[in-house]
Protein backbone atom coordinates (compact mmCIF):
# COMPACT_ATOMS: atom_id res chain seq x y z
CA UNK A 1 0.00 0.00 0.00
CA UNK A 2 1.39 3.38 -0.89
CA UNK A 3 1.82 6.00 1.81
CA UNK A 4 -0.77 8.21 0.18
CA UNK A 5 -3.54 5.67 0.35
CA UNK A 6 -2.62 4.80 3.94
CA UNK A 7 -3.10 8.43 4.91
CA UNK A 8 -6.35 8.60 2.97
CA UNK A 9 -7.45 5.44 4.75
CA UNK A 10 -6.68 6.93 8.13
CA UNK A 11 -8.70 10.04 7.37
CA UNK A 12 -11.58 7.97 6.02
CA UNK A 13 -11.67 5.90 9.20
CA UNK A 14 -11.53 9.04 11.32
CA UNK A 15 -14.41 10.59 9.42
CA UNK A 16 -16.40 7.38 9.76
CA UNK A 17 -15.91 7.36 13.55
CA UNK A 18 -16.87 11.03 13.74
CA UNK A 19 -20.00 10.47 11.65
CA UNK A 20 -21.03 7.45 13.73
CA UNK A 21 -20.58 9.37 16.99
CA UNK A 22 -22.54 12.32 15.66
CA UNK A 23 -25.36 10.01 14.55
CA UNK A 24 -25.41 8.42 18.00
CA UNK A 25 -25.58 11.79 19.74
CA UNK A 26 -28.32 12.93 17.36
CA UNK A 27 -30.35 9.77 18.04
CA UNK A 28 -29.88 10.24 21.78
CA UNK A 29 -31.00 13.86 21.54
CA UNK A 30 -34.07 13.11 19.42
CA UNK A 31 -35.05 10.14 21.57
CA UNK A 32 -34.66 12.12 24.78
CA UNK A 33 -36.58 15.11 23.52
CA UNK A 34 -39.45 12.88 22.32
CA UNK A 35 -39.55 11.06 25.65
CA UNK A 36 -39.53 14.18 27.80
CA UNK A 37 -41.91 15.99 25.40
CA UNK A 38 -39.27 18.64 24.96
CA UNK A 39 -40.51 21.32 22.63
CA UNK A 40 -37.58 22.72 20.61
CA UNK A 41 -39.38 25.72 19.04
CA UNK A 42 -40.79 26.68 22.45
CA UNK A 43 -37.28 26.38 23.87
CA UNK A 44 -35.82 28.72 21.28
CA UNK A 45 -38.50 31.37 21.72
CA UNK A 46 -38.64 31.05 25.50
CA UNK A 47 -35.00 31.97 26.14
CA UNK A 48 -35.14 35.55 24.79
CA UNK A 49 -38.63 35.93 26.25
CA UNK A 50 -37.44 34.84 29.68
CA UNK A 51 -34.50 37.24 29.60
CA UNK A 52 -36.73 40.12 28.50
CA UNK A 53 -39.13 39.30 31.33
CA UNK A 54 -36.25 39.11 33.80
CA UNK A 55 -34.89 42.51 32.76
CA UNK A 56 -38.33 44.07 33.16
CA UNK A 57 -39.67 42.38 36.29
CA UNK A 58 -36.94 40.48 38.05
CA UNK A 59 -35.18 43.53 39.49
CA UNK A 60 -35.15 44.51 43.15
CA UNK A 61 -37.07 47.72 43.81
CA UNK A 62 -37.32 50.06 46.79
CA UNK A 63 -40.04 47.97 48.41
CA UNK A 64 -37.99 44.82 48.06
CA UNK A 65 -35.04 46.51 49.74
CA UNK A 66 -37.07 46.66 52.93
CA UNK A 67 -36.71 42.87 53.02
CA UNK A 68 -32.93 43.17 52.86
CA UNK A 69 -32.29 42.52 56.58
CA UNK A 70 -34.44 39.41 56.35
CA UNK A 71 -32.54 38.18 53.31
CA UNK A 72 -29.19 38.94 54.93
CA UNK A 73 -30.17 36.96 58.01
CA UNK A 74 -31.21 33.91 55.96
CA UNK A 75 -28.03 34.17 53.89
CA UNK A 76 -25.97 34.18 57.08
CA UNK A 77 -27.87 31.10 58.23
CA UNK A 78 -27.14 29.42 54.89
CA UNK A 79 -23.41 30.16 55.20
CA UNK A 80 -23.43 28.79 58.73
CA UNK A 81 -25.24 25.59 57.71
CA UNK A 82 -22.94 25.09 54.71
CA UNK A 83 -19.77 25.50 56.76
CA UNK A 84 -21.09 23.29 59.57
CA UNK A 85 -22.18 20.53 57.19
CA UNK A 86 -18.82 20.68 55.43
CA UNK A 87 -16.67 20.61 58.56
CA UNK A 88 -18.64 17.91 60.38
CA UNK A 89 -18.58 15.83 57.22
CA UNK A 90 -14.86 16.51 56.77
CA UNK A 91 -14.05 15.12 60.21
CA UNK A 92 -16.13 12.01 59.53
CA UNK A 93 -14.71 11.71 56.01
CA UNK A 94 -11.16 11.80 57.41
CA UNK A 95 -11.96 8.75 59.50
CA UNK A 96 -13.84 6.91 56.75
CA UNK A 97 -11.19 7.69 54.14
CA UNK A 98 -8.28 6.60 56.33
CA UNK A 99 -10.09 3.39 57.27
CA UNK A 100 -11.13 2.85 53.66
CA UNK A 101 -7.88 3.65 51.82
CA UNK A 102 -5.67 0.75 50.75
CA UNK A 103 -2.54 2.45 52.12
CA UNK A 104 -3.82 3.11 55.63
CA UNK A 105 -6.61 0.62 56.31
CA UNK A 106 -6.66 -1.46 59.48
CA UNK A 107 -8.50 -4.44 58.05
CA UNK A 108 -9.89 -5.26 54.58
CA UNK A 109 -13.40 -5.82 55.97
CA UNK A 110 -13.49 -2.38 57.62
CA UNK A 111 -12.20 -0.91 54.38
CA UNK A 112 -15.06 -2.43 52.38
CA UNK A 113 -17.58 -1.26 54.96
CA UNK A 114 -16.19 2.28 54.84
CA UNK A 115 -16.36 2.38 51.04
CA UNK A 116 -19.91 1.01 51.10
CA UNK A 117 -21.02 3.71 53.55
CA UNK A 118 -19.47 6.43 51.41
CA UNK A 119 -21.07 5.03 48.26
CA UNK A 120 -24.49 4.93 49.94
CA UNK A 121 -24.18 8.55 51.09
CA UNK A 122 -23.00 9.70 47.68
CA UNK A 123 -25.30 7.78 45.36
CA UNK A 124 -28.52 8.76 47.07
CA UNK A 125 -28.85 12.37 45.88
CA UNK A 126 -29.00 15.18 48.44
CA UNK A 127 -32.61 15.83 47.36
CA UNK A 128 -33.57 12.28 48.27
CA UNK A 129 -31.79 12.59 51.62
CA UNK A 130 -33.68 15.83 52.24
CA UNK A 131 -37.01 14.13 51.47
CA UNK A 132 -36.10 11.17 53.69
CA UNK A 133 -35.04 13.38 56.58
CA UNK A 134 -38.12 15.55 56.20
CA UNK A 135 -40.21 12.64 57.50
CA UNK A 136 -38.29 12.36 60.78
CA UNK A 137 -36.86 15.83 61.41
CA UNK A 138 -39.67 17.90 59.90
CA UNK A 139 -39.41 21.45 58.60
CA UNK A 140 -36.30 22.37 60.49
CA UNK A 141 -32.89 23.76 59.86
CA UNK A 142 -31.45 20.47 61.11
CA UNK A 143 -33.04 18.60 58.19
CA UNK A 144 -31.09 20.67 55.70
CA UNK A 145 -27.92 20.47 57.76
CA UNK A 146 -28.12 16.68 57.97
CA UNK A 147 -28.95 16.24 54.28
CA UNK A 148 -25.96 18.37 53.30
CA UNK A 149 -23.81 16.56 55.86
CA UNK A 150 -24.62 13.14 54.41
CA UNK A 151 -24.09 14.25 50.82
CA UNK A 152 -20.83 16.00 51.69
CA UNK A 153 -19.64 12.96 53.64
CA UNK A 154 -20.07 10.76 50.58
CA UNK A 155 -18.37 13.21 48.27
CA UNK A 156 -15.49 14.15 50.57
CA UNK A 157 -14.76 10.52 51.44
CA UNK A 158 -14.17 9.76 47.79
CA UNK A 159 -11.98 12.85 47.39
CA UNK A 160 -10.04 12.24 50.62
CA UNK A 161 -9.48 8.58 49.77
CA UNK A 162 -7.85 9.61 46.51
CA UNK A 163 -5.70 12.15 48.36
CA UNK A 164 -4.65 9.55 50.94
CA UNK A 165 -3.85 7.02 48.21
CA UNK A 166 -1.69 9.52 46.37
CA UNK A 167 -0.06 11.64 49.04
CA UNK A 168 0.40 9.32 51.99
CA UNK A 169 2.12 6.34 50.44
CA UNK A 170 5.75 7.27 51.07
CA UNK A 171 5.29 8.76 54.57
CA UNK A 172 3.34 5.66 55.59
CA UNK A 173 6.04 3.35 54.28
CA UNK A 174 8.77 5.35 55.97
CA UNK A 175 7.01 5.55 59.33
CA UNK A 176 5.95 1.90 59.32
CA UNK A 177 9.52 0.88 58.52
CA UNK A 178 10.81 2.93 61.46
CA UNK A 179 8.46 1.05 63.79
CA UNK A 180 5.69 3.60 64.31
CA UNK A 181 2.30 2.32 65.41
CA UNK A 182 -0.77 2.76 63.19
CA UNK A 183 -2.02 5.68 65.27
CA UNK A 184 1.37 7.40 65.13
CA UNK A 185 1.58 6.86 61.40
CA UNK A 186 -1.83 8.38 60.84
CA UNK A 187 -1.36 11.31 63.21
CA UNK A 188 2.23 12.21 62.25
CA UNK A 189 2.48 11.02 58.66
CA UNK A 190 -0.88 10.83 56.95
CA UNK A 191 -2.79 13.78 58.34
CA UNK A 192 -0.04 16.43 57.95
CA UNK A 193 0.69 15.32 54.40
CA UNK A 194 -2.93 15.40 53.26
CA UNK A 195 -4.08 18.50 55.16
CA UNK A 196 -3.42 21.12 52.45
CA UNK A 197 -5.23 19.21 49.74
CA UNK A 198 -8.13 18.23 51.97
CA UNK A 199 -8.48 21.86 53.07
CA UNK A 200 -8.82 22.80 49.42
CA UNK A 201 -11.60 20.23 49.06
CA UNK A 202 -13.32 21.64 52.16
CA UNK A 203 -13.34 25.13 50.65
CA UNK A 204 -14.80 23.70 47.46
CA UNK A 205 -17.52 21.89 49.40
CA UNK A 206 -18.48 25.05 51.32
CA UNK A 207 -19.08 26.70 47.93
CA UNK A 208 -21.08 23.76 46.60
CA UNK A 209 -23.11 23.46 49.77
CA UNK A 210 -24.22 27.08 49.62
CA UNK A 211 -25.77 26.37 46.24
CA UNK A 212 -27.22 23.05 47.38
CA UNK A 213 -28.56 24.65 50.56
CA UNK A 214 -30.85 26.77 48.41
CA UNK A 215 -32.30 23.65 46.80
CA UNK A 216 -32.63 21.79 50.08
CA UNK A 217 -34.15 24.91 51.63
CA UNK A 218 -36.90 25.00 49.00
CA UNK A 219 -37.77 21.37 49.73
CA UNK A 220 -37.55 21.49 53.52
CA UNK A 221 -38.86 25.02 54.03
CA UNK A 222 -35.74 26.45 55.62
CA UNK A 223 -33.05 29.02 55.02
CA UNK A 224 -32.65 31.23 52.00
CA UNK A 225 -34.33 28.68 49.72
CA UNK A 226 -37.54 28.98 51.72
CA UNK A 227 -37.40 32.75 51.52
CA UNK A 228 -36.99 32.63 47.74
CA UNK A 229 -39.85 30.15 47.44
CA UNK A 230 -42.07 32.38 49.59
CA UNK A 231 -41.48 35.47 47.46
CA UNK A 232 -41.63 33.44 44.24
CA UNK A 233 -44.95 31.79 45.03
CA UNK A 234 -46.51 35.06 46.17
CA UNK A 235 -45.26 36.60 42.91
CA UNK A 236 -43.20 39.16 44.79
CA UNK A 237 -40.55 38.98 42.08
CA UNK A 238 -38.52 42.07 43.08
CA UNK A 239 -37.91 40.50 46.49
CA UNK A 240 -37.12 37.12 44.92
CA UNK A 241 -34.61 38.94 42.70
CA UNK A 242 -33.08 40.44 45.81
CA UNK A 243 -32.55 36.93 47.18
CA UNK A 244 -30.89 35.85 43.92
CA UNK A 245 -28.67 38.93 43.97
CA UNK A 246 -27.65 38.13 47.54
CA UNK A 247 -26.79 34.55 46.58
CA UNK A 248 -24.70 35.72 43.61
CA UNK A 249 -22.77 38.15 45.82
CA UNK A 250 -22.23 35.51 48.46
CA UNK A 251 -21.09 32.75 46.09
CA UNK A 252 -18.77 35.02 44.09
CA UNK A 253 -17.23 36.38 47.30
CA UNK A 254 -16.66 32.91 48.73
CA UNK A 255 -15.32 31.60 45.42
CA UNK A 256 -12.85 34.48 45.13
CA UNK A 257 -11.73 34.12 48.73
CA UNK A 258 -11.28 30.37 48.51
CA UNK A 259 -9.41 30.62 45.20
CA UNK A 260 -7.01 33.11 46.78
CA UNK A 261 -6.57 30.86 49.83
CA UNK A 262 -6.07 27.80 47.65
CA UNK A 263 -3.26 29.52 45.76
CA UNK A 264 -1.42 30.20 49.04
CA UNK A 265 -2.11 26.81 50.65
CA UNK A 266 -1.27 24.45 47.80
Amino acid sequence: MSRDSAVRDMFRRRNLVAAASLALVAALTLGSSALTQFDWPACLTSVPKAFAWMAANFVPNARALRNAPNVAQKLAETVLVSIMATMLAAVAAFAVAILGSRTTRLHPAISILARLLASLCRNIPVVAWAMILLLSFGQNVLTGLLALFIGTLGYLTRAFTEVVDEAAKSPVEALTASGATWLQTVAQGVIPSILPQTASWMLYMVETNIRDATLVGILTGTGVGFLFDLYYKSMNYPSAALVVLGIILLVVTIETASNALRRVIL
Partner: protein, 272 residues
Protein backbone atom coordinates in the same frame (compact mmCIF):
# COMPACT_ATOMS: atom_id res chain seq x y z
CA UNK B 1 26.89 21.70 76.93
CA UNK B 2 23.88 21.89 79.19
CA UNK B 3 21.69 18.92 79.93
CA UNK B 4 18.47 20.84 79.42
CA UNK B 5 16.55 19.30 76.54
CA UNK B 6 16.51 21.60 73.56
CA UNK B 7 13.32 21.79 71.59
CA UNK B 8 13.88 21.25 67.93
CA UNK B 9 11.25 22.94 65.82
CA UNK B 10 10.18 20.33 63.32
CA UNK B 11 7.78 22.50 61.37
CA UNK B 12 8.69 26.06 60.56
CA UNK B 13 5.67 28.25 59.91
CA UNK B 14 5.55 29.23 56.26
CA UNK B 15 3.11 31.46 54.43
CA UNK B 16 1.12 28.48 53.27
CA UNK B 17 1.03 26.73 56.64
CA UNK B 18 -0.14 29.94 58.34
CA UNK B 19 -2.89 30.36 55.73
CA UNK B 20 -3.87 26.72 56.15
CA UNK B 21 -4.08 27.00 59.91
CA UNK B 22 -6.06 30.24 59.77
CA UNK B 23 -8.50 28.76 57.25
CA UNK B 24 -9.05 25.65 59.33
CA UNK B 25 -9.36 27.70 62.52
CA UNK B 26 -11.98 29.91 60.90
CA UNK B 27 -14.00 26.96 59.58
CA UNK B 28 -13.81 25.04 62.86
CA UNK B 29 -14.63 28.17 64.88
CA UNK B 30 -17.67 28.88 62.71
CA UNK B 31 -18.83 25.30 63.10
CA UNK B 32 -18.58 25.44 66.88
CA UNK B 33 -20.32 28.82 66.97
CA UNK B 34 -23.03 27.36 64.74
CA UNK B 35 -24.12 24.95 67.43
CA UNK B 36 -25.08 27.93 69.58
CA UNK B 37 -26.37 30.19 66.81
CA UNK B 38 -28.67 27.84 64.89
CA UNK B 39 -32.29 27.91 65.91
CA UNK B 40 -33.22 24.27 66.40
CA UNK B 41 -36.31 24.86 68.48
CA UNK B 42 -39.21 22.54 67.81
CA UNK B 43 -37.22 19.41 67.12
CA UNK B 44 -36.49 16.70 69.63
CA UNK B 45 -33.19 15.41 68.31
CA UNK B 46 -33.38 12.16 70.28
CA UNK B 47 -36.77 10.99 69.09
CA UNK B 48 -36.17 12.36 65.58
CA UNK B 49 -32.95 10.35 65.29
CA UNK B 50 -34.75 7.25 66.51
CA UNK B 51 -37.48 7.77 63.91
CA UNK B 52 -34.83 8.35 61.24
CA UNK B 53 -33.23 5.03 62.13
CA UNK B 54 -36.49 3.08 61.85
CA UNK B 55 -37.36 5.02 58.67
CA UNK B 56 -34.05 4.06 57.09
CA UNK B 57 -34.48 0.43 58.08
CA UNK B 58 -38.03 0.40 56.69
CA UNK B 59 -37.27 2.11 53.42
CA UNK B 60 -34.36 -0.13 52.56
CA UNK B 61 -35.98 -3.40 53.63
CA UNK B 62 -39.65 -2.73 52.80
CA UNK B 63 -39.83 -0.60 49.69
CA UNK B 64 -43.38 -0.47 48.37
CA UNK B 65 -45.41 1.63 45.97
CA UNK B 66 -49.09 2.52 46.29
CA UNK B 67 -49.50 5.41 43.89
CA UNK B 68 -47.76 3.95 40.84
CA UNK B 69 -46.77 0.58 39.39
CA UNK B 70 -43.33 -0.73 38.53
CA UNK B 71 -43.77 0.15 34.85
CA UNK B 72 -44.78 3.70 35.65
CA UNK B 73 -41.84 4.10 38.01
CA UNK B 74 -39.43 2.86 35.35
CA UNK B 75 -40.95 5.26 32.83
CA UNK B 76 -40.54 8.17 35.26
CA UNK B 77 -36.95 7.10 35.84
CA UNK B 78 -36.36 7.00 32.08
CA UNK B 79 -37.81 10.50 31.72
CA UNK B 80 -35.37 11.74 34.36
CA UNK B 81 -32.41 10.03 32.66
CA UNK B 82 -33.45 11.57 29.32
CA UNK B 83 -33.79 15.00 30.93
CA UNK B 84 -30.22 14.62 32.17
CA UNK B 85 -28.98 13.38 28.78
CA UNK B 86 -30.67 16.19 26.87
CA UNK B 87 -29.17 18.90 29.08
CA UNK B 88 -25.76 17.29 28.83
CA UNK B 89 -25.87 17.15 25.03
CA UNK B 90 -27.07 20.73 24.60
CA UNK B 91 -24.58 22.05 27.17
CA UNK B 92 -21.76 20.09 25.54
CA UNK B 93 -22.64 21.36 22.06
CA UNK B 94 -22.44 24.97 23.19
CA UNK B 95 -19.34 24.33 25.30
CA UNK B 96 -17.38 22.71 22.45
CA UNK B 97 -18.10 25.69 20.20
CA UNK B 98 -17.22 28.32 22.81
CA UNK B 99 -14.47 26.23 24.47
CA UNK B 100 -11.56 27.23 22.17
CA UNK B 101 -12.35 30.91 22.82
CA UNK B 102 -12.05 30.32 26.58
CA UNK B 103 -8.66 28.56 26.38
CA UNK B 104 -5.62 30.68 27.22
CA UNK B 105 -3.40 29.11 24.55
CA UNK B 106 -5.90 29.64 21.74
CA UNK B 107 -7.52 33.00 22.41
CA UNK B 108 -6.54 36.53 23.46
CA UNK B 109 -6.53 37.12 27.21
CA UNK B 110 -9.44 39.64 27.35
CA UNK B 111 -11.80 37.21 25.57
CA UNK B 112 -10.80 34.43 27.95
CA UNK B 113 -11.30 36.69 30.97
CA UNK B 114 -14.75 37.82 29.84
CA UNK B 115 -15.91 34.25 29.14
CA UNK B 116 -14.57 32.93 32.43
CA UNK B 117 -16.22 35.76 34.35
CA UNK B 118 -19.51 35.17 32.56
CA UNK B 119 -19.52 31.46 33.37
CA UNK B 120 -18.61 32.15 37.00
CA UNK B 121 -21.67 34.38 37.19
CA UNK B 122 -23.86 31.63 35.69
CA UNK B 123 -22.54 29.12 38.19
CA UNK B 124 -23.14 31.46 41.13
CA UNK B 125 -26.92 31.10 40.72
CA UNK B 126 -28.10 27.66 41.86
CA UNK B 127 -29.63 25.47 39.14
CA UNK B 128 -33.00 25.36 40.85
CA UNK B 129 -33.28 29.14 40.74
CA UNK B 130 -32.47 29.19 37.02
CA UNK B 131 -35.18 26.62 36.41
CA UNK B 132 -37.76 28.44 38.53
CA UNK B 133 -36.96 31.77 36.87
CA UNK B 134 -37.29 30.23 33.40
CA UNK B 135 -40.50 28.52 34.43
CA UNK B 136 -42.18 31.93 34.53
CA UNK B 137 -41.20 32.56 30.91
CA UNK B 138 -41.70 29.05 29.56
CA UNK B 139 -44.15 27.46 32.01
CA UNK B 140 -43.36 24.53 34.28
CA UNK B 141 -42.25 21.41 32.48
CA UNK B 142 -39.37 20.05 30.50
CA UNK B 143 -38.52 23.24 28.59
CA UNK B 144 -37.85 25.33 31.69
CA UNK B 145 -36.02 22.45 33.35
CA UNK B 146 -33.79 21.72 30.37
CA UNK B 147 -33.00 25.38 29.67
CA UNK B 148 -32.29 26.13 33.32
CA UNK B 149 -30.12 23.05 33.80
CA UNK B 150 -28.30 23.66 30.51
CA UNK B 151 -26.97 26.96 31.85
CA UNK B 152 -25.00 25.15 34.53
CA UNK B 153 -23.97 22.29 32.24
CA UNK B 154 -22.64 24.76 29.72
CA UNK B 155 -20.64 26.72 32.25
CA UNK B 156 -19.24 23.59 33.91
CA UNK B 157 -18.30 21.97 30.60
CA UNK B 158 -16.86 25.19 29.22
CA UNK B 159 -14.53 25.35 32.20
CA UNK B 160 -13.58 21.68 31.86
CA UNK B 161 -13.14 21.78 28.07
CA UNK B 162 -11.09 24.97 28.03
CA UNK B 163 -8.83 23.57 30.73
CA UNK B 164 -8.41 20.37 28.68
CA UNK B 165 -7.48 22.48 25.65
CA UNK B 166 -5.00 24.46 27.74
CA UNK B 167 -3.15 21.24 28.58
CA UNK B 168 -2.15 20.75 24.95
CA UNK B 169 1.53 21.24 24.29
CA UNK B 170 2.25 24.77 23.09
CA UNK B 171 4.91 23.44 20.70
CA UNK B 172 2.31 21.48 18.77
CA UNK B 173 0.24 24.60 18.18
CA UNK B 174 3.40 26.54 17.31
CA UNK B 175 4.44 23.90 14.78
CA UNK B 176 1.02 23.86 13.14
CA UNK B 177 1.03 27.65 12.91
CA UNK B 178 4.46 27.53 11.31
CA UNK B 179 3.28 25.00 8.74
CA UNK B 180 0.54 27.43 7.70
CA UNK B 181 -2.51 25.97 9.42
CA UNK B 182 -5.13 28.56 10.28
CA UNK B 183 -6.81 28.87 13.68
CA UNK B 184 -9.85 26.85 12.66
CA UNK B 185 -7.69 24.01 11.35
CA UNK B 186 -5.61 23.98 14.51
CA UNK B 187 -8.72 23.73 16.69
CA UNK B 188 -10.66 21.21 14.61
CA UNK B 189 -7.81 18.99 13.44
CA UNK B 190 -5.39 19.07 16.36
CA UNK B 191 -6.77 20.50 19.60
CA UNK B 192 -10.18 18.83 19.75
CA UNK B 193 -9.11 15.38 18.47
CA UNK B 194 -6.14 15.14 20.83
CA UNK B 195 -8.17 16.11 23.90
CA UNK B 196 -11.15 13.95 22.89
CA UNK B 197 -10.82 11.32 25.61
CA UNK B 198 -10.66 14.01 28.25
CA UNK B 199 -13.72 15.74 26.78
CA UNK B 200 -15.70 12.49 26.75
CA UNK B 201 -14.76 11.75 30.33
CA UNK B 202 -15.80 15.23 31.53
CA UNK B 203 -19.04 15.06 29.58
CA UNK B 204 -19.97 11.74 31.11
CA UNK B 205 -19.14 13.07 34.54
CA UNK B 206 -21.49 15.97 33.85
CA UNK B 207 -24.17 13.49 32.77
CA UNK B 208 -23.82 11.87 36.17
CA UNK B 209 -24.37 15.26 37.84
CA UNK B 210 -27.23 16.11 35.49
CA UNK B 211 -29.08 12.93 36.39
CA UNK B 212 -28.99 13.97 40.05
CA UNK B 213 -29.99 17.50 39.03
CA UNK B 214 -32.90 16.16 37.00
CA UNK B 215 -34.14 14.28 40.08
CA UNK B 216 -33.82 17.50 42.07
CA UNK B 217 -35.64 19.60 39.48
CA UNK B 218 -38.47 17.08 39.40
CA UNK B 219 -38.83 17.44 43.16
CA UNK B 220 -38.32 21.18 43.52
CA UNK B 221 -39.28 22.76 40.22
CA UNK B 222 -42.03 20.63 38.69
CA UNK B 223 -39.88 19.09 35.98
CA UNK B 224 -41.64 15.72 36.27
CA UNK B 225 -39.95 12.35 36.26
CA UNK B 226 -38.99 10.31 39.28
CA UNK B 227 -38.09 13.41 41.31
CA UNK B 228 -41.71 14.53 41.32
CA UNK B 229 -42.85 11.11 42.56
CA UNK B 230 -40.25 11.35 45.31
CA UNK B 231 -41.55 14.76 46.34
CA UNK B 232 -45.13 13.49 46.43
CA UNK B 233 -44.20 10.35 48.37
CA UNK B 234 -42.45 12.30 51.10
CA UNK B 235 -44.05 15.75 51.09
CA UNK B 236 -47.69 14.75 50.48
CA UNK B 237 -48.27 11.09 51.32
CA UNK B 238 -45.64 10.79 54.11
CA UNK B 239 -45.11 7.26 52.79
CA UNK B 240 -41.69 5.94 53.77
CA UNK B 241 -42.12 2.68 51.81
CA UNK B 242 -42.69 4.64 48.62
CA UNK B 243 -39.75 6.94 49.37
CA UNK B 244 -37.66 3.78 49.78
CA UNK B 245 -38.93 2.34 46.49
CA UNK B 246 -37.97 5.49 44.59
CA UNK B 247 -34.65 5.85 46.43
CA UNK B 248 -33.65 2.33 45.42
CA UNK B 249 -34.38 3.07 41.77
CA UNK B 250 -32.45 6.36 41.83
CA UNK B 251 -29.55 4.76 43.66
CA UNK B 252 -29.20 1.92 41.15
CA UNK B 253 -28.96 4.37 38.24
CA UNK B 254 -26.56 6.64 40.17
CA UNK B 255 -24.24 3.73 40.98
CA UNK B 256 -24.28 2.55 37.36
CA UNK B 257 -23.40 6.06 36.17
CA UNK B 258 -20.63 6.38 38.75
CA UNK B 259 -19.09 3.08 37.70
CA UNK B 260 -19.26 4.20 34.06
CA UNK B 261 -17.64 7.54 34.82
CA UNK B 262 -14.85 5.92 36.85
CA UNK B 263 -14.16 3.42 34.05
CA UNK B 264 -13.94 6.21 31.49
CA UNK B 265 -11.58 8.17 33.73
CA UNK B 266 -9.33 5.15 34.23
CA UNK B 267 -9.16 4.26 30.55
CA UNK B 268 -8.18 7.85 29.90
CA UNK B 269 -5.33 7.62 32.41
CA UNK B 270 -4.09 4.45 30.71
CA UNK B 271 -4.05 6.16 27.32
CA UNK B 272 -1.86 8.88 28.71
Amino acid sequence: MSDAPRIIRLRKPTRSSVALNLTLAFLVGTTVAGFFLLDTKGVDVGSASLKLWTDLANMFTHPSAQHFGFGEALWALLVTVCLGALTTVIGAAFAIIVGPFAAKNLSPAPVVAILKGFTALIRAIPTVLWVLIFAIGAGLGSVAAVVGMTFHSFSYLLKAYSEAFEEIDGDVIEALKASGANWCQIVCQAVIPSSMSSLVSWTFMRFEINFTNAVAMGAAAGAGGIGFDLFMASGFYFNIGEVGYITWLIMIVAIALEVGATRLQRSQHVER
